[in-house]
């Protein structure tokens, strides 16, 4: 700070002596330059909302804001007219997210898939910014806890314990808003899965490493195209598991964000969509889905976030 004060002093002295008889233009130019050096401007709206499609984006819910999220996936498009191209089936996740501070949000939810409860934190470790602090990326850490409550067939021995029903995901999100329209993020992820017998995926790996990549491109002020892909390291990928690819559109209308998408995954928690996807895009195992987000300002904040 003393350095800046000194700089400002020099600037003022120069202004005072050199442009004494002129108008206020130079003085203002100097003030503006000084302010740009003194302030940190944080990048905002890297993504429209806190999810890209199924997975987390680098965005956090603002402090004091409660976000009610309803995620919905229908059945497979290739299931034919009898199944109304998948619309007869529905799987959902109902969740609440809340912003505690500008760097911390929490979320809880319940999914139809494996009757799973989940809870997560999203912690912003670095925030993309320019000015005094010049930071090219935003870095977030997301731990996710999920609890599978699916009833097992009576013959299952031994019965799954609490630990068997629990899965953990540790994810880093490295994101950057390259331009107003284009943002990209990478999501290295480690998943420790639950150990509840799974009929659709009988052979599985308990520990999976995956690298995710996701991006968005705005096509108008209120509409953007999103894509999300998770690549499981082959050594840690279950034999029937496929990598999840989702393509979607975000539509923003006031306090709502609607996300419409096509994906090959049914699950909506990290463990489920990253490691337990079995559908293949090339076989037409594609599901239509949507997320609806509605934010409520629980606490009015007057300060900066």
């Amino acid at each position: 700070m003393p350095k800046q004060t000194y700089l400002l002093f020099v600037v003022i002295m120069l202004t005072a002596t050199t442009s004494f008889a002129q108008d206020t233009t130079d003085a203002m130019a100097n003030l503006e330059k000084q302010t740009v050096q003194d302030e940190t401007v944080y990048t905002t709206a890297t993504f429209k909302t806190t999810r890209v499609v199924s997975g987390q984006s680098v965005e956090n819910t603002a402090p004091g804001v409660l976000d009610l999220r309803i995620n919905h996936r229908f059945g497979q498009l290739n299931s034919g007219l009898y199944n109304f191209f998948g619309l007869d089936e529905a799987s959902m996740r109902l969740g609440f997210d809340y912003g505690i501070s500008k760097r911390l949000m929490v979320g809880i939810g319940h999914s139809t898939y494996q009757k799973t409860y989940d809870a997560f934190l999203k912690i912003k470790l670095l925030r993309q910014s320019t000015g005094k602090i010049n930071m090219p990326i935003t870095l977030s850490y997301v731990p996710v806890f999920a609890y599978n409550t699916l009833k097992t067939v009576p013959a299952t021995v031994p019965k799954p314990s609490f630990a068997d029903r629990t899965s953990f995901t540790n994810q880093l999100i490295i994101g950057r808003k390259f331009s107003d329209a284009f943002s990209l993020q990478l999501m290295p992820t480690y998943i420790h899965k639950d150990n509840v017998p799974n009929v659709t995926l009988p052979y599985t790996k308990r520990n999976t490493f995956a690298m995710g990549i996701a991006g968005r491109h705005k096509i108008s002020k209120r509409v953007s195209l999103n894509a999300e892909y998770y690549y499981q390291l082959p050594d840690t990928q279950g034999p029937l598991s496929t990598n999840v690819l989702s393509l979607g559109v975000d539509i923003e209308t006031g306090g709502h964000v609607f996300q419409l998408h096509f994906t090959n995954s049914r699950g909506m928690t990290e463990k489920a969509f990253i490691t337990e996807t079995t559908g293949k895009w090339e076989d037409g195992d594609i599901l239509f889905g949507f997320n609806i987000s509605r934010v409520f300002n629980v606490k009015k904040t007057k300060n900066h976030w």
Binding site: T35, T44, A45, A62, G64, N297, W305
Partner: protein
């Protein structure tokens, strides 16, 4: 120009980095107010030159989503980061900077925001001198369509077409 007592030039220019500009939108469904208390302003008491510069993303709203929409959708602050006014007090002779008082003045100049400049923008304000300290106040209306700020129909009852702007600046710093 020399002051007889100190043999120093008379300081004629003042500035602030903490001026306040607020705006208020009164619409059918909701009233929206936002403040920016990091307004840069300079005033030259010799010539009447007065200038303001304000960063759009420095306006703070009671709701985070409002602030995001304001920057992203309406003001496009990454494309047009600041709003400026550069003008003059047209009736400077009314103001006696050496005497405490509230002086009504007219200010005229170029008002620029959202990439559009309105030349000869004119409004009334007051210059207040108290204990030798200068402050400037003004309240005026602007129309969004003059600055090509488009409000979609769906939120037409949430955002007014005419916005009231309040300016409160005191100039503690000499230059």
């Amino acid at each position: 120009m020399r002051s007889p007592l100190t043999q120093q030039p008379i300081r004629k220019k003042y500035f602030t980095k903490n001026g306040l500009i607020s705006f208020f939108s009164k619409a059918q469904l909701e009233n929206i107010k936002a403040d920016n208390n990091q307004v840069l302003s300079t005033i030259d008491v010799g010539t009447g030159g007065i200038q303001f510069s304000v960063l759009i993303n420095g306006f703070h709203f009671p709701k985070a989503t409002m602030e995001e929409h304001f920057n992203e959708d309406y003001m496009e602050s990454s494309k047009y980061p600041k709003a400026t006014f550069k003008g003059k007090i047209t009736d400077l002779s009314k103001v006696d900077f050496t005497k405490d008082g509230v002086y009504k003045v007219n200010v005229s100049g170029d008002l620029t925001m959202h990439g559009i400049t309105k030349p000869n923008f004119s409004t009334d304000g007051t210059i207040t001198i108290k204990d030798g300290k200068i402050s400037a106040n003004s309240k005026f209306m602007i129309e969004l369509k003059d600055y090509n700020i488009k409000i979609p129909k769906v939120v037409a009852s949430n955002i007014a077409e005419k916005i009231e702007i309040t300016v409160v600046c005191s100039y503690p710093n000499k230059m």
